[in-house]
Symmetry: C2
Subunit: 382 residues, 2 copies
């Protein structure tokens, strides 16, 4: 085994954990916080909730909620201006991956200067970031615990993966009760993102025993609880399980990185305003089938965790079972099952394939991928 | 579920991970480090190894190796003096639990002043500690990742549990190759400590889903690999598995705390120079039997992880199987199985019971314990 590194934030998990955000900021020495969120989260009432907790803690704050899905560098610049003009010294991210990744990118610009594209890739951030407290409200991205921030370079139409240990937040707050305001299609898309994180991290070439335990537990939870979580906004057991699944999948992929599904999904998401989770969901079974020969025993593990009795099954049969499980789960919760269902057309395959090949997540895909293969993958999924 | 909190250091795990200690110190801004270790580790050559790595990194250092098993407050004062006189600004702990807990205690005194007994209990440390890098060489204590430091108050003859998030090291380095110099009896004693950490953390009243995954994986590894690790100094697969088991059990108990076996073991270890792992090993089956009624389903989980096929078994039978597994494992690796074998006599039961009741680890034991019960436990184990 190679040397494995594992980094996590301090984690505060549980119902009403959100109430600890004021105390968490003060503990980190914050004098004035910038709260980064989006309109959906604000409309659901969570921004007001966090503001009222800051007020109770006598903690001054400013807000920045100009965040879109697949968040853009231009919005990050605006957020950075809000941080500096308001003389903030700490950042709260409140929302799903878009809000949290924006909060991290604002933290980078505010202390390291330059343009966000300067930091694309691994370990490009040199100066320490301000204290970051991330409150996750989607059970999807895992950004609350990860060393990733994914931002769209709007000039190049490309998602940039910024990967650095310093992007691991200081404190991650995960409150399953924040999930009860999500509609079912968002729950489905973000939940399938969690599934993709768990599976890609588990078969990643950078997986370690420390990431494996997190990936396996996340996979077990999402296999059992994603359906009931989509079925009911108020099923608290399912919300709690999905919040934990998201967190654990985040710990897994933050340290084991991902694979071809994410590489392709980043390529497409940089140009088109399509849900990251939905693209992943469509691609995942095709990528699993392609990757099978790289790690047959890992796909048997995945099938067993999903609940299949492997006695009498070959590794190929177990692999097929795991792939069919993903298709069935996606179908049950109403996810799109072809790329054309989310607006991808044949003429996009060439640039999407080219961009996917150079995405940082492709490096840890367990099977080598060339341009022909990634284009075939995309064609099959079309 | 209550709100659960989870804190871990950055972890660097793998063969030859020790070589990264220089880089790790420099990354944390260290200008001069105090290396805290003990004579056994120094004689095995690991202190020289770390010194040579510091030299290669042009990192000035001083050393303090006056550390005994069940480390004492008086030695901590000496270590603190070495830190201050040598104008150090960071600490490397190198060794097993005794060296690492001493390193943490020196860090407390060096920056917070006063006496080490001022910090007994939970969250008594107010000022930030210097950067701490812990290199684990025993696969036992889990101190490399934990928020614990256990130091003997030599006046009172009492082990003090100092528990604080700030005691979580900045970086934990776990190099399985450091385990190949341990003799078999130390491997057995420290391995049984790992087993006790995993089981006590799993049935603790403060267990959470985040600690459970770590505890279960640690239990699975120690169940399979402790025997072969004791059998051979050079079985690298077993050493790697035990190093991971120790780390994961440490992550579990650091966040879920422990139970009655550790409370009693701390009581005895404060007065007598007996191996902590050996006392735990003797006590564990008795404590499991006593605790069974508090969490029967958890003991079924434990039996399943140990490898028992639970079909057709009652919870009581599964619980008994898990207890018998612990006895068999301890017997196979030559651990003592009565307290009298490690020098405990009947006249010690009264004070040991009284001290155990007020130990911080007793708070999270899953079954309430009164003085009569703890004394009966001790008598049974005598």
């Amino acid at each position: 085994m190679h040397i494995s590194k594992f980094v996590t934030p301090e984690i505060i998990f549980g119902k009403n954990a959100i109430k600890q955000v004021g105390d968490a900021c003060l503990r980190l020495g914050a004098k004035k916080v910038l709260i980064v969120s989006d309109y959906g989260v604000a409309n659901a009432g969570w921004l007001d909730k966090v503001i009222s907790i800051c007020k109770e803690s006598f903690l001054p704050y400013a807000t920045h909620i100009d965040v879109t899905i697949n968040p853009k560098d231009t919005d990050v610049v605006k957020g950075c201006r809000a941080y500096i003009e308001n003389e903030c010294d700490a950042i709260i991210g409140l929302g799903g991956g878009s809000a949290l990744d924006s909060a991290k990118a604002i933290a980078i610009l505010a202390t390291n200067g330059g343009q966000i594209s300067d930091y694309e890739g691994v370990d490009k951030i040199e100066k320490p970031l301000p204290p970051m407290i991330m409150i996750m409200t989607t059970a999807g991205s895992g950004s609350e615990v990860s060393q990733f921030s994914v931002i769209v370079d709007s000039k190049r139409g490309k998602k940039m993966s910024i990967i650095s240990k310093t992007l691991v937040p200081d404190i991650a707050i995960v409150d399953p009760l924040t999930l009860v305001t999500k509609d079912s299609s968002l729950t489905a898309a973000t939940g399938l993102d969690v599934l993709t994180h768990a599976i890609e991290a588990y078969v990643s070439t950078a997986a370690t025993p420390l990431t494996d335990v997190q990936a396996k537990n996340a996979l077990s939870l999402v296999s059992k609880f994603l359906r009931p979580s989509v079925a009911s906004k108020t099923n608290e057991e399912a919300k709690e399980a999905m919040a934990m699944a998201s967190l654990q999948a985040g710990l897994a992929f933050s340290n084991a990185i991902l694979g071809a599904a994410h590489a392709i999904s980043h390529a497409i998401g940089g140009k088109l305003p399509i849900s990251h989770g939905e693209i992943n969901a469509v691609l995942l079974p095709y990528v699993m089938d392609f990757n099978f020969i790289a790690a047959p025993e890992r796909f048997s593990d995945i099938a067993a965790i999903m609940g299949f009795d492997l006695r009498g099954m070959s590794e190929r049969e177990a692999g097929n079972a795991s792939i069919q499980f993903v298709r069935d789960l996606a179908a049950d919760i109403g996810a799109p099952h072809r790329l054309r269902d989310v607006g991808i057309t044949e003429d996009m395959i060439d640039w999407a394939g080219q961009l996917a090949l150079i995405d940082a997540c492709m490096i840890t895909n367990p099977r080598d991928v060339n341009l022909e293969q990634v284009k075939t993958l995309l064609k099959n999924a079309l």
